[in-house]
Symmetry: C2
């Protein structure tokens, strides 16, 4: 690329697109709220984690050293009835809570691996930071923002709002009055709180609650919002660069995180807040009760009435990257089918490009070099515009006709130089693999696959020679051998192609 464009990101906190300037030059600290491991990961969460994976990869591509922390919530995330999700999952499965945690953490990692995301630099668990959480509860209390009530400790939102009238509600866009009277509380039926909007930062465990630790206030467990305040600052410092998560976490989770950090350290945790948007299904919100949802496993197996075929994880990922992370994304069979076709075109285009520069003869500048190189630069520009993957992908699709035209002869060989083609090949491969984290589905015949490509080239060549010299014995032998191998050859004007049946 000529010069790296300036990176700008949409900051949910300020509601503005801002130039991204990390605290320490050349280094980025990023925290993303990870899964609560009490059930299989939701496809909406998969989208969020894929989005932040591409953001992580883009930052690495831009040359930043990145410390990327994504947590595992293995305690404290309550349901509306006030029960811990992990404990409820454990009772349902008749397992020890930590067995539930292990089962779904493994499952989550498997799904992430299937979709080709990079592991974060640190993946801390809430249960691994109980001491630190107790310490932050104490700091919040010491600063007057927390109070104990019957063994639980609550965050005093009234005092916080009085002290910071601008802050509480800023991220989620809620009005302070609304927040104060907010009835949907963490602990329904709890009369220990002074205000309905106060939230638990330490909870006394009920008698049958298995996950419990000693604390100055009670045997209990930390509140859900607290873990992220603790783990982000432990590994990234009191203030760090990026905090990410799904849109649905803005309130109460992220709003309360900010309140806790302000209460404990007197500063905002993150300078840029990035939020992914919702996944829809055929235009409507996904919901199990409305029979309008699909799981990652179902998408991959095709075992759902909502789709007509299984989809390759790379196709699903490509489909997701064709929308901006901050837009809603509507899953439908039609859209996935289109992505499937588009992805194949993309992979084929990249395969065509492979080695094209090395074998190209034209060592002098071509008339269309500039056009090609401009498109390459445009990809970076789009990525630097709030990680705009759909537009970056669109730029690649503008490049492909040039490649295919050159290969097919509709663009004359002197129009593009060997150097420009080689640059394009290297760059697109990097964008495809390193930044978007995609893998060609054409190479799926791994191991044998590439060798098979070469050997087939040899065989088709010999078949051609045999036919030309009317050596029918040999050409029959090849025909039978390929049939036994389950390979179908199609002859066309441009040459022969083959597929495995």
């Amino acid at each position: 690329m000529s010069t790296t464009p300036t990176l700008s990101v949409y900051n949910s906190l300020t509601r503005n697109k801002e130039e991204f300037k990390p605290l320490v030059e050349g280094q980025v600290s990023m925290y993303v709220c990870g899964p609560t491991v009490y059930s299989d990961v939701h496809i909406g969460n998969v989208r969020t984690f894929i989005s932040f994976d591409v953001i992580y990869r883009t930052l690495l591509y831009l040359g930043y050293k990145v410390r990327y922390v994504r947590n595992i919530t293995d305690v404290g995330h309550l349901l509306d009835d006030g029960e811990d999700r992990i404990s409820k999952g454990a009772r349902k499965l008749q397992l020890e809570p930590m067995e539930v945690v292990q089962k779904y953490t493994n499952g989550f990692h498997d799904v992430m691996r299937t979709f080709g995301t990079l592991p974060p630099s640190i993946e801390p668990r809430a249960t691994g930071h109980i001491i630190e959480q107790i310490e932050m509860v104490q700091a919040i209390m010491d600063n007057g923002y927390g109070y104990e009530s019957n063994g639980s400790v609550y965050f005093d939102t009234e005092k916080y709002i009085a002290d910071q009238p601008e802050l509480y509600g800023q991220l989620s866009g809620r009005k302070v009055d609304e927040l104060l009277t907010e009835t949907r509380s963490e602990l329904k039926g709890s009369s220990d709180k002074k205000n309905p909007s106060d939230f638990a930062i330490w909870m006394k465990a009920g008698e049958d609650h298995i996950m419990r630790w000693n604390s100055p206030w009670s045997e209990g467990f930390p509140g859900w919002h607290l873990e992220c305040s603790v783990m982000s600052t432990k590994y990234l410092g009191d203030t760090f660069d990026i905090h990410g998560g799904g849109n649905d976490l803005k309130f109460p989770h992220h709003e309360n995180e900010i309140a806790q950090n302000m209460g404990a350290c007197g500063c905002q945790p993150s300078r840029y807040w990035l939020h992914t948007n919702m996944l829809l299904m055929n235009g409507r919100k996904m919901s199990k009760s409305e029979d309008n949802s699909i799981s990652p496993a179902e998408l991959l197996s095709g075992d759902s009435k909502h789709i007509t075929q299984p989809y390759h994880p790379m196709v699903i990922k490509f489909f997701m990257l064709q929308s901006h992370y901050s837009s809603t994304l509507d899953i439908s069979d039609e859209a996935l089918l289109a992505a499937d076709k588009g992805y194949r075109r993309l992979c084929e285009g990249l395969k065509t490009l492979e080695g094209l520069g090395l074998s190209a003869k034209n060592q002098t500048p071509g008339a269309r070099d500039a056009e090609l190189l401009k498109l390459l630069d445009d990809i970076d520009t789009e990525l630097c515009d709030d990680f705009n993957t759909p537009k970056a992908v669109a730029k690649i699709f503008e490049i492909l006709p040039l490649i295919n035209g050159y290969k097919g002869g509709t663009i004359a060989a002197d129009q593009l130089s060997a150097d420009a083609l080689q640059q394009t090949s290297v760059k697109l491969q990097r964008i495809f693999s390193d930044v978007l984290g995609l893998q060609s589905t054409l190479d799926d015949q791994s191991g044998g696959g590439k060798a098979l490509d070469h050997v087939m080239e040899l065989v088709l060549d010999m078949r051609q020679s045999a036919r030309q010299s009317k050596d029918w014995d040999t050409s029959d032998k090849i025909r039978d051998g390929l049939a036994a191998a389950g390979i179908t050859v199609k002859d066309a004007k441009e040459g022969s192609t083959w597929t495995i049946n």
Copy 2:
């Protein structure tokens, strides 16, 4: 199987083979010391974890409900110079300690996945249990077995030996006198201890030590031995069924674990102690300094002067299972080559067996049915004899000639009934996949691979013809084409074989 044989295990604590009777009928609780994640996992540890994986699988096969806990040591395991391994690894890599932990935990899981081991039911981390460790230190102190000295807390071995003269040294077979004067201490140069054999259960952190937590005694971190005492009993109860680990952990790690549990709870943690033995390299102890070691990655890639080719993970695993877990195992290229051949025979035999029962016509008992079914029972007998995988595998190799003979016609079709063949097929597949955790390498060339086999057959056939008819043009073309495909052909009397480079 007719009736399940009684399971017996060699108990390192009593030095006897004993009938295995779990505390709760039908349920087994098992704890195995996991890796310290400060570097790539050692092949000797891989052997240990594969061994316990097969033990876990065998227990499941025998119908037990098993809770299998294997920890991750991510703090507190000191080097001889008294430095924490994780911290040292972090300094070396210029990373935050938890980044080191993440990196090598991921790497460990990748290796375990490559070797096809099951994840444990719970995989707790030492840093996730600091509160519980502080509580156990307190309990040990309350019972008079621990004392504070300059912010660190030590276990008082002298008092423990006085109270339990029979116990300390029982597992490792060391004499109490030796133990008391043992000079190789955890903390060289530490004069805080009353006796050289005392060991730290809580350590005050030096100023530059990043991993530290508040405690009643100092900002510090727990001793290595302590974490296993804490995590095993937290998830399995004060006394559980099986405690496993490598032989090298007997002293001081396991001996001290027992002392800690006795000191804190007054009871032995585990009823059966199982230990895996050492891995040798060409008959000598593996040692990096003597240039006599090999890593899992090197075994898999072939990138080591000690071996002549890469080995498939299943071949390496099969090689390991051909020795008993409690015997030393000598790695050498010859032994691996032999295992490679043996494993291929095993996979081919199982493939021959597939569907043989279903297609067999003989519905009446065959004269050799009993012989076959006896061998099937023998496999269970061997597995129940302290998980004797080499003998169980040997029984499978006694079964294969019957199968191959039947298939090849040297054993008449009426000698074996369809039912006996079908039983054999189902049982061997179960032993192979579920109990030994193996996968056929014959299926490895999925997708493109099988096609490649066929196409290569065709190409080698054409190469042979070209040579015979002295058509050097064609044979040269094939030679070049295969070279481009990265395929090496070896010619031998029995025919040509090929490998992908």
